[in-house]
Symmetry: C2
Subunit: 241 residues, 2 copies
DNA sequence: TTCCTTGTGTGTACGACGTATCCGAGCGAG
DNA sequence: CTCGCTCGGATACGTCGTACACACAAGGAA
């Protein structure tokens, strides 16, 4: 016969919403999520270890497994935790809503750099708070005369841009954090030898010119907003909204 | 005194370009890169293990360390390897160039799903082939009357959108590959219980409507191109080019 | 020739990791 | 009281990245 997994065990979110039988224990999904997020914020995603988590919780290594089925589950829980309370102001113009969505997502991802490094499972996970965010975004696009595919394409385009921009931005910050570099100058001075070597090959004249002439090289905020403006203007121009 | 790292050991790329002293050995960075990429393409990034790599090369576990300083170095080598030969057709309109850049990057990332899962170090690494790509993209934007910051912002916006869109797309494919699901139907039928449970909560009416009414839900290519059109139209409209 | 340096692969070993499995203590329901 | 459930503890296994000491080969200097 097949393996005995016929009853596939209620999903994480389903279990969480059940009555909670006398929640008096020292461990709970909430506490686990909070602690794990603290660790990851302070020391990066690699610091997230079932053992480290248990230590931080003052508990044996296997104890968290009672509440979380494994590391993948833990990561999903963390994602949902940081998205809690993400609210989009209602009743605004679509453009303002999408802009707010983008800026708040950026803030969130800069506060939790590990969000940009999650494995595929955790990226795709349909957590309640992320579902809620999608719902809010879609309903901000409702009533503009767009069909459902178009509405989703707008949301997805903004979301894709934001995540793409933030993978870069948080990779830089993660690197700085890991190396203990404090500002952009230190970063540049450490990476300079590599860059200089590349430039000396003479293969990248346009890039070299950029390095010398650009004035916004380190203005991540400006770069993000400039790209965001492209995206929003493109949506408006293409869909005539 | 400080640690004795005063001479910081030539960078990976610097070493690679040196004359190569009698390349008669069984191991070489090329062979290592090719083998590692094969493994990752076939079995995903988690299958990349120094030991597994060594086995595949028919060599002792520690042998590759002679050519690659560690796993991070290996990943950079792999990235450079798959970007080899990425050429943008010259002499085209900026819009066509950016579109080609986007479509080819998508192809590349779908062929090598692990590109979307790299750790921060490997994402940022300035490999020769990626530098060359940046150079080509920037020079395709040269001569349009844009200043250097604007040129880079165009490149970065397109790149950010592509990477953001592809993290989703390759997460889906990675999941399907790992689980052995062959098509989108199987994916959906496996994820359906989760989704149905969420929908039953009644919290996501707009999203639910989308699920029922949308016709492009599974057309990843259409979604990608639609978003890309937004971005390119937005660039054109904003910068008047 | 002989020696010695330099580059390359081998063997062994260590400390961390994720997690399977078995235990026992506590407690509410009958 | 006792049954059975829930929850944390203890132990253990296999795998990971990689430090380290060694062997062996080729080639230039003596």
């Amino acid at each position: 016969m097949a393996t005995e997994n016929d009853k596939p065990r209620a999903s994480l979110w389903e279990r969480l919403e059940r009555p909670a039988p006398a929640q008096r224990q020292t461990l709970s999904p909430q506490r686990i999520a909070t602690t794990a997020v603290q660790i990851a914020d302070a020391e990066g995603l690699e610091a997230i270890t079932m053992r480290r988590l248990a230590t931080e919780l003052g508990v044996a290594p296997m104890a968290p497994y009672r509440h979380v089925s494994g590391k993948d589950d833990l990561l999903e829980l963390m994602v949902d935790h940081v998205y809690a309370g993400f609210q989009l102001p209602a009743g605004q113009e679509w453009r303002q809503s999408m802009r707010t969505l983008a800026l708040r997502t950026r803030d969130l991802m800069l506060r939790h750099l590990w969000l940009a490094q999650l494995p595929p499972q955790a990226r795709l996970s349909l957590t309640p708070n992320r579902m809620s965010l999608a719902e809010q975004a879609l309903s901000a696009l409702d009533g503009l005369g767009l069909d459902d595919d178009a509405m989703m394409s707008v949301f997805r385009a903004v979301d894709a841009y934001v995540h793409g921009a933030l993978t870069d931005e948080s990779a830089v910050r993660t690197l700085m954090h890991e190396q203990g570099w404090s500002d952009g100058d230190e970063l540049r001075s450490e990476l300079a030898p590599q860059m200089i070597w590349h430039m000396r090959t003479g293969r990248y004249p346009t890039f070299k010119r950029y390095l010398h002439a650009a004035t916004r090289k380190d203005d991540a905020q400006w770069q993000f907003e400039t790209g965001l403006t492209f995206v929003l203007n493109g949506i408006a121009a293409t869909l005539a909204i």
